[in-house]
């Protein structure tokens, strides 16, 4: 596993893609944005086409944490199997390993830093949000764990089907290397490459000419986050109320049964109607569980909006650095001019001090000019590369953003349709129950 790092660029070399089952022949060197190979995007096949991936189980573990205290946590079983093995008719047992949520987080953070121009898929929520009262907010709750398992699988599948992300070696090792994966990740030194929050914030406020599309995209991601949050909140409230309505009907069952004891003619009708009322009350659990799945689909895009914002922020940062470099160059050129001609065009401390303490000697000035010239040459080079990087970033990020937009439109439309399908199923159940109940009532 050779990691070659060059300067400040995060580079992960994938020269040893050892798995014999994989037929991926392309050079799997994945580099940072500075020398990005366009061919990587176009050719090559996403990992998912070669490998079957699933998160199939969840288990509780106890262990000692960082401060040597006992803790209970959940681990998830990741199973992988080469697609070929299945198509050949023999289904070999899948390879598997256990990972906990924090390792997924680590992987994602690595991807965020390594591929800042990619809209990185989000993880399922860390803590249960937008709960309605019956749903436990406890991370240990089996329903929560189950939904998280599905979310984690979804995350892996999304990464594995991404033309760029899926080729990353660290990702591959995450799926296949049981021990020591964490060390490998840390060894990439990606944490050092992460932009500080402060730096990013500073850039956001001070950048002068961000690409208009990215500004719009940022606004869009803000709107998306806001509207989906609202939707989830309202939905949770409605789910809570719906639960109440259904459950109260359970009381009918009980009272009908008690009442039927004193009624001769109506007794049977009441009893059987009561059973239907109980069935009606119980049916809400399944209905709301399905709805929770819809909520999870919305949540994914709620968290995706954060990924979008991250890409925009990176653009702002790069743009800002370009602007800074350009600004710096201009000021250096000005300084040179001043030195050369002796005129002070702008107010500067140098000008002041020279006025106060006298001019420098020609030798000193010569030396300074030389240094400045060198700096200017460097500066020009920097501006040139920054410009190139910026353009590159804008282009490449936009490619992934387009991909993301298409994916989002398709996924959300599917989600809306599945919501309608759920509603239809709920209505059909309701019609069934009340038709049966009516029959029983008619026989009273």
């Amino acid at each position: 596993m050779a990691d070659s790092t060059s300067e400040d660029v995060a580079v992960v070399g994938n020269t040893d893609f050892a798995a014999a089952d994989l037929h991926n022949n392309t050079n799997n060197t994945v580099t940072g944005y500075s020398s990005f190979s366009k061919t990587m995007m176009e050719e090559g096949v996403p990992l998912l086409k070669k490998m079957e991936i699933s998160v199939s189980e969840a288990e509780k573990r106890t262990g000692k944490n960082a401060v040597n205290m006992q803790e209970v946590y959940t681990v998830y079983l990741i199973e992988t199997r080469p697609v070929d093995a299945i198509t050949e008719g023999q289904s070999t047992a899948p390879d598997s390993l256990w990972r906990r949520y924090s390792e997924f987080e680590l992987l994602r953070n690595y991807l965020l830093v390594t591929f800042p121009y990619i809209v990185v898929p989000p993880l399922p929520e860390k803590r249960a949000e937008f709960v309605w009262h019956k749903l436990s907010a406890d991370n240990m709750d089996p329903d929560f764990v189950e939904r998280r398992r599905i979310g984690l699988e979804n995350f892996l599948l999304r990464v594995a089907s991404h033309s760029v992300l899926s080729k990353d070696k660290i990702f591959y090792l995450f799926l296949t290397q049981d021990d020591g994966w964490k060390d490998v990740v840390y060894d990439t030194g990606f944490q050092a490459k992460a932009d500080s929050r402060l730096k990013a914030l500073n850039a956001t406020f001070r950048v002068k000419n961000p690409d208009k599309r990215y500004t719009e995209l940022k606004h869009y991601s803000d709107e998306l986050q806001s509207v989906i949050s609202q939707l989830l909140r309202v939905r949770a409230k409605v789910a809570d109320r719906l639960y109440g309505v259904y459950k109260v009907h359970g009381n009918y069952g009980r009272v009908f049964s008690e009442w039927s004891a004193i009624e001769r003619e109506m007794g049977d009708g009441l009893q059987s109607a009561g059973h239907h009322m109980d069935a009606y009350a119980a049916s809400v659990d399944d209905i709301l569980e399905e709805e929770e799945h819809y909520a999870d689909q919305l949540k994914e895009y709620l968290y995706y909006s954060e990924s979008l914002r991250a890409v925009c922020r990176k653009h702002e940062l790069i743009q800002y650095e370009l602007e800074m470099a350009a600004q710096d160059l201009i000021s250096k050129k000005q300084q040179r001019e001043e030195l050369a001609t002796g005129t002070v065009r702008t107010f500067s401390l140098k000008g002041m001090t020279s006025k106060l303490f006298g001019q420098e000697t020609p030798e000193q000035r010569e030396a300074k000019l030389k240094v400045l010239e060198e700096q200017i040459v460097e500066g020009e080079e920097l501006v040139k590369t920054s410009n190139a990087e910026c353009d590159e970033y804008v282009r490449n990020a936009w490619i992934d953003i387009d991909r993301f937009k298409e994916q989002k439109n398709q996924d959300l439309k599917e989600a809306l349709i599945s919501y309608a399908v759920m509603q239809i199923s709920m209505c059909k159940k309701g019609i069934q129950v009340w038709t049966n109940a009516k029959e029983c009532f008619s026989k009273m």
Partner: protein, 430 residues
Amino acid sequence: MESESSSSAASVSGSPAQTVTDLSRHMLEQDEDDDLEVFSKDATLTDASSFSASMPMSPASMINQYKLEEQDIKDVFITVDCPESHVTSIETFVTYRVITKTTRSEFDSSEYEVRRRYQDFLWLKGKLEEAHPTLIINPLPEKFVMKGMMERFNDGFIETRRKALQKFVNRIADHPILSFNEDFKVFLTAQAWELVSHKKQGPGLLSRIGETVRAVAASVRGVQNRPEEFTAMNDYVETFGQKMGMLDKIAQRIVKEQKEYLEGMKECGPVYTLWSGSEDQLVEPLKAIAGCIDNCCKVTEEQVAGLSENQVPILHEYVLCAETLKAVLRRRDNIQAEYESKVDALANKKADKENLKEEIGRLEDKVECANNTLKVDWERWKRNMQGDVKSAFVDMADTNMNYYKKRLAIWESFLTSQKTDVHLEKDTDS
């Protein structure tokens, strides 16, 4: 069964002798009117002397006549509508228009229109209970609403009350005995001032006090040998009242929860619409969903209205009915207690045995009559109850069925509108 007598209704205040003759004649013709007259006359008698001669028929035969009336021919139709409020210096109250249409010959005209207020209905009920202590008279809507006095003049409350009042009078009109009650006729036909003066008639204050005293004394004494079937009735009424109370609560609670669900759902549509403003490709499906949700809200509103208007009032009425039944059973008990006390008195007193024996005889008949009327009316009440409760719940099932059917249609139309895309996605999936 045609009512052909023209004189019976008017003969309430006739002398005992006259009534006997009428009775025998009409009994042959099996005319319901006189049979009922006898009933009402018996029950209102507070004076022993006017009673003795007028009971030639055995209670059993009276019951037989009563039973024949089961196939009631509806010949009195009453509507209660047009509530109006009236403001005087003392009070504010609401009157209702009561229109009666009838083909009965006891009525001078075939159509009447009068205005009555809640107090008048209350008066009527009181008179009917006085006249027929062991008949089951369905309850009136409650006098006061718990929440607050001002609610009385709220439109929804008045409408609910109006419907209940209409039901109340129609049930009396359908009752084979009660519908021929004189006070009932007065209630339906008398003009305002006539009613006032009629109300002032009847047993004087003193005799009414006497009656009350006797009733209280009897209830304090308690009944000694209550027949098994009435104890069974008592037990039934206890449980029935309890269960009805619970069902009433459940039904009201469901309405409340459904309303809250509706309120929540109303907030959903606008969010989808808001979202569509940020999107391009998704505008159409998002707006469509918003539209569907709004339609669902409308449908839910209809469902809530349906439950509130149809099912809830019936259940509530029967909660009140349980109280009525208990009162009827108590009154029957009191009649028996009165009789028993006289029997005891006979065993103890030496003097005035003759009168006492006469009184005992009268009271014995009174008890038997009361028991039998109650038994028959009980069956009648039970039949009505079953019918009402059944229709209330069938209604509820219907309301809910239609509710879900409408919702289904809404979402199915959404799917159809997105149809082409559904197929597309299915293809890309494979």
